[in-house]
């Protein structure tokens, strides 16, 4: 399995999804070699490193862990592939980082990305290098099927298939259209398309994504299957002592602050609500290229004392954030799946999600609005803040609903896909 990030070093939903998926597959008796690109400092001479259980800090209980690591081999590949960064910004980042390593402050990348000066500054070159490593792994390791997650790893998957002749499954977590709207990067599009054409099976995370794959990439519908993501049952019950310290209701946005996530609709809806009811606080957690624009807009609307920014949240802080929230909003313009609302519901937070998200296909107990309909969004948020019966209903049924969405079930679907090509 080729991925690009793995807990605890995650920047988005993909790492969590891969972890859940491998865990589920391990439970169904499959064995997995997981390959992840990772940026090293100068010490890394070897291209591939086998990582054993003791070196990886993953939050699962002991017993679970042991059986998990019995079946999963974790490999890190020396590469500076950065999740969620397109070729253009990749170049900017590496350039910038070369110029002034010290002044490089962005929180998303600082912990993940340390430029060593050894790697190519062109992302496409990196992808090609990763593909080379993919094919070399394919010759050395013993396996039955290749599974590649998102475009950065597709070339590696294809190379592995060509070397080994084993069937290839590619997993579409997000398409280039989701990331960039209509102004797509054609190189990325080409890699995605080639990956899916070469693959024996394509797994999409929602029917929404399946449609895009079929309509815009011209992939044969017969080999495209939807497997909805799931969510791990909450394993951190020890936050009960943590309560919010403000009197107002707290409405939260959590995600990368980028075009795809629709942060501006959240800001505008917040403004509508605050005009009527000042006793609500809004929190925008995360970071991204639209952060500064959002900050300015909030200041322009004069609601800075009611609208807060937290920057990138990790680990405990995410759970703390949910513990403090009364409503969670995901106004994504285009979201192949969207796992965060599930995490919110798991933490007893009612959610408002956009109809343009894959997760809307499977959730019943969530308020669904069009991302552009800020009036409806404001209505929904206001309702969940003020009508106790409504929010209680959503909390109770939402929790049940999420608890039934298990990776165990989702990975069984994936296993079925595997079996169809073996």
């Amino acid at each position: 399995m080729f991925g690009w990030e793995f807990p605890p070093h995650i920047t988005g939903g993909l790492g969590t999804a891969c972890f859940g998926l491998t865990k589920g597959l391990a439970k169904h008796g499959l064995e997995i070699i997981f390959v992840v690109p990772k940026a090293y400092g100068d010490e890394s001479q070897e291209a591939v490193r086998l990582v054993n259980a003791s070196e990886v800090t993953v939050d699962i209980d002991r017993e679970d862990e042991r059986s998990y690591w019995d079946r999963v081999q974790y490999m890190e590949v020396g590469s500076n592939i950065i999740p969620y960064v397109g070729p253009e910004s990749f170049e900017n980042l590496t350039e910038e980082s070369k110029r002034a390593t010290e002044k490089f402050q962005s929180r998303v990348f600082s912990q993940k990305f340390e430029f060593s000066g050894k790697y190519g500054s062109n992302l496409m070159e990196e992808v090609a290098r990763y593909a080379l490593i993919g094919s070399s792994i394919a010759t050395k390791q013993d396996f039955d099927i290749i599974h590649a997650h998102d475009w950065l790893t597709y070339s590696a998957g294809v190379a592995a298939k060509e070397t080994s002749g084993k069937p290839l499954v590619v997993h579409m977590h997000a398409t280039e259209f989701d990331r960039s709207g209509e102004n797509i990067n054609t190189d990325v599009y080409a890699i995605e398309r080639r990956g899916m054409e070469m693959a024996d099976r394509v797994i999409t995370v929602s029917n929404l994504t399946r449609r895009i794959v079929i309509d815009r990439y011209g992939i044969d519908p017969n080999k495209v299957f939807t497997v909805h993501n799931a969510v791990e049952p909450s394993d951190k019950p020890d936050l009960q002592g943590f309560e919010k310290a403000v009197d107002e209701k707290v409405v939260t946005f959590l995600g990368r602050i980028t075009f795809q996530k629709g942060p501006e609709y959240f800001v505008e809806a917040a403004h509508k609500i605050l005009k009527r009811d000042p006793n609500v606080r809004f929190v925008m957690a995360g970071t991204g290229d639209l952060l500064n624009k959002m900050v300015l807009r909030v200041a322009q609307l004069r609601m800075g004392d009611r609208f807060h920014f937290t920057g990138f949240l990790k680990g405990d802080d995410v759970d703390k954030m949910f513990a403090m929230s009364d409503v969670f909003v995901m106004p994504s313009i285009s979201e192949p799946f969207g796992i965060v609302p599930l995490e919110a519901m798991r933490s007893n937070v009612p959610v408002v999600i956009s109809k343009q998200s894959g997760v809307a296909e499977i959730l019943k107990h969530a308020i669904k609005v069009d991302f552009w309909d800020i009036d409806a969004m404001a209505d929904a948020i206001y309702g969940l803040c003020h009508y106790q019966a409504l929010s209680n209903t959503f909390i109770r049924f939402g929790k049940d609903e999420v608890d039934s969405l298990k990776w165990e079930h989702a990975s069984l679907e994936v296993k079925k896909v595997y079996e169809s090509v073996l």
């Binding site: 402050q105 009197d247 500064n292 322009q300 800075g304 004392d305 807060h308 937290t310 802080d317």
Partner: protein, 525 residues
């Protein structure tokens, strides 16, 4: 003899710690103690202590011929007390020589003069008190935060009793005029105004160590040469700058300390110049004209205006939201809130949010510990939110409450008024219709008897036969009967009692008799 007036600004803000959304409502300590202490100690060692030492030597050497002036913000004094009391001691020694004047300013080095006259006055008073308490002298000259000045601010300062105020000799205000004279406030000419000679001041403060500058290196002799070029009729050269210029902005290695050691001797050498302080100049010099400054100016940036602190949305919002609390806090007299109120007002917080990076970006970056103005804004707003909560919880907005009560009582009054109006209209309508129905209805009727005085009733019934009376009172209201009976003569009463039991009479007859009585009644009224 031309006067040279040195003035140094000493200020350190209480910088905020990273205050996150999670801290709101949970943690009310806002300051980065470690960072503030570190900076204070560093500047104390690099600038305050060595430079104070140099000034002390000069005063020892030249006595009262050498003079300088300082303004030290309340926040800077507090930090010296906390982190480096020896600096405060050395300032005290300087002031004790009598050759160092301490100027008044706002306690928090705040922008209150631009927004809130009452708060401005409170802070100026608080600062003067602090200065008096620490140095034992009460300031008589005034300089506002970052030399911010306008006609109105000047007028308010004059109102507070100061004789002279310092500001920037901004080009767009002076035009062809020279900053090297004494000017006066345009509204209240009693306030004298000293203008900074920005060219000569910045030659020391900014350009001193700039090796790309054609005049580099600057020596004391060269500097005096520039002074000599100034028209001999001009009266004063004002050299105003940050005290941190010495050793912090211009490092010791640039030779700034040696320059300052040599400068007084070079200036005093030919007897053409004398050192002075604003208070002395205010006594000595007469204003040559009023200076018109309709819009606030300052000594900051190329623009010499207040856009370093205010102007973009982030600055404007946070500034307005902060000062919205002003009155409540001032009225509260709450020591803890007042402390944070002072610290949060310091102009630096707004400076950090400045987005005009182009002309003065370097200077801004130098003074800013936030990675970007956005971070500065986010952090400040988080702190402000918590502060708002504390203020509002402790002192619920009374004006708002009053407004609410007033609104509610207004509604009630309106309701009452409406009801009263309705009732009055109703009654008038009834009266009108009654009048319309004719004269008759306002004629006295039988029932009106009960509203007559006893004497009148006596008169009325005096010559009515008892029989008639009985008949008339039959079926009449009890109240009326009770009124009439006691007024009957004894004889009539007796007869009435007899007849009352067994009188049979027709309704028409009763009406007949009642009518005659009514006739009589009319005569009576």
């Amino acid at each position: 003899m031309k006067s040279i007036c040195f003035y140094f600004q000493v200020h350190q803000p209480f910088r905020l710690r990273t205050y996150r959304f999670f801290d709101i409502g949970r943690n009310h300590f806002y300051y980065d103690d470690y960072f503030n202490r570190m900076i204070m100690r560093r500047i104390a060692e690099k600038c305050y202590l060595p430079m104070n030492e140099i000034l002390m030597q000069q005063i020892k050497e030249f006595g009262s011929r050498f003079k300088v002036s300082f303004s030290i913000s309340g926040l800077a004094i507090e930090q010296m007390e906390l982190y480096s009391p020896e600096v405060l001691e050395s300032f005290k020694k300087l002031v004790d020589t009598g050759n160092v004047e301490i100027l008044a300013e706002t306690y928090a080095h705040s922008l209150s003069s631009l927004k809130d006259a009452a708060e401005f006055e409170r802070q100026v008073k608080a600062h003067s008190e602090k200065i008096e308490q620490v140095f034992g002298v009460r300031p008589v000259s005034f300089r506002n935060t970052e030399l911010i000045y306008s006609d109105n601010i000047g007028a308010q300062v004059a109102e507070m009793g100061f004789k002279v105020m310092l500001t920037e000799g901004a080009k767009h205000v002076l035009g062809w005029k020279s900053p090297n004279y004494m000017y006066a406030n345009a509204i209240n000419p009693k306030l004298k105004v000293l203008l900074r000679n920005f060219r000569l001041s910045d030659d020391i403060a900014f350009r001193f160590s700039q090796q790309s500058w054609s005049e580099w290196p600057v020596t004391a002799e060269k500097f005096v040469g520039w002074l000599d070029k100034i028209n001999p009729n001009e009266e004063v050269v004002n050299l105003f700058m940050d005290y941190e210029t010495f050793g912090e902005h211009q490092w010791a290695s640039s030779g700034i300390f040696n320059f300052m050691k040599a400068l007084p001797a070079a200036i005093l050498k030919h007897g053409k110049y004398s050192f002075s302080t604003p208070a002395i100049l205010a006594e000595k010099l007469q204003p040559v004209s009023a200076i018109h400054v309709p819009y606030p100016i300052s000594w900051a940036d190329e623009e010499r205006d207040v856009t370093a602190w205010l102007g973009n949305d982030m600055q404007d919002e946070s500034f307005a939201k902060l000062y919205a609390l002003s009155e409540t806090i001032r009225n509260s007299k709450d020591i803890e809130l007042m402390r944070d109120w002072n610290y949060l007002q310091s102009s630096d917080h707004f400076y950090y949010m400045c987005t005009k990076w182009f002309s003065d970006g370097d200077v801004h970056k130098y003074f800013n510990h936030y990675p970007s103005p956005y971070e500065a804004y986010i952090n400040f707003m988080n702190v402000l939110s918590d502060f708002q909560n504390r203020v509002n919880k402790k002192y619920p907005d009374t004006s708002k409450m009053f407004q609410e009560v007033a609104e509610k009582s207004g509604q009630i009054v309106k309701q009452i008024g409406n009801q009263a109006n309705e009732a009055i209209e109703d009654l008038t309508a009834k009266a009108k219709s009654r009048i319309k129905r004719g004269e008759e209805s306002i004629k006295p009727v039988f029932d009106d008897i009960k509203s007559l005085s006893d004497a009148r009733i006596k008169k009325l019934i005096k010559d009515i036969e008892a029989e008639d009376l009985v008949a008339a009172l039959k079926d009449a209201e009890q109240e009326l009967v009770n009124k009439v009976i006691p007024n009957m003569s004894k004889a009539a009463r007796k007869k009435y009692d007899e007849l009352e039991q067994n009188l049979k009479i027709k309704k028409s007859q009763v009406n007949q008799i009642r009518k005659t009585i009514e006739e009589k009644l009319r005569g009576l009224i």
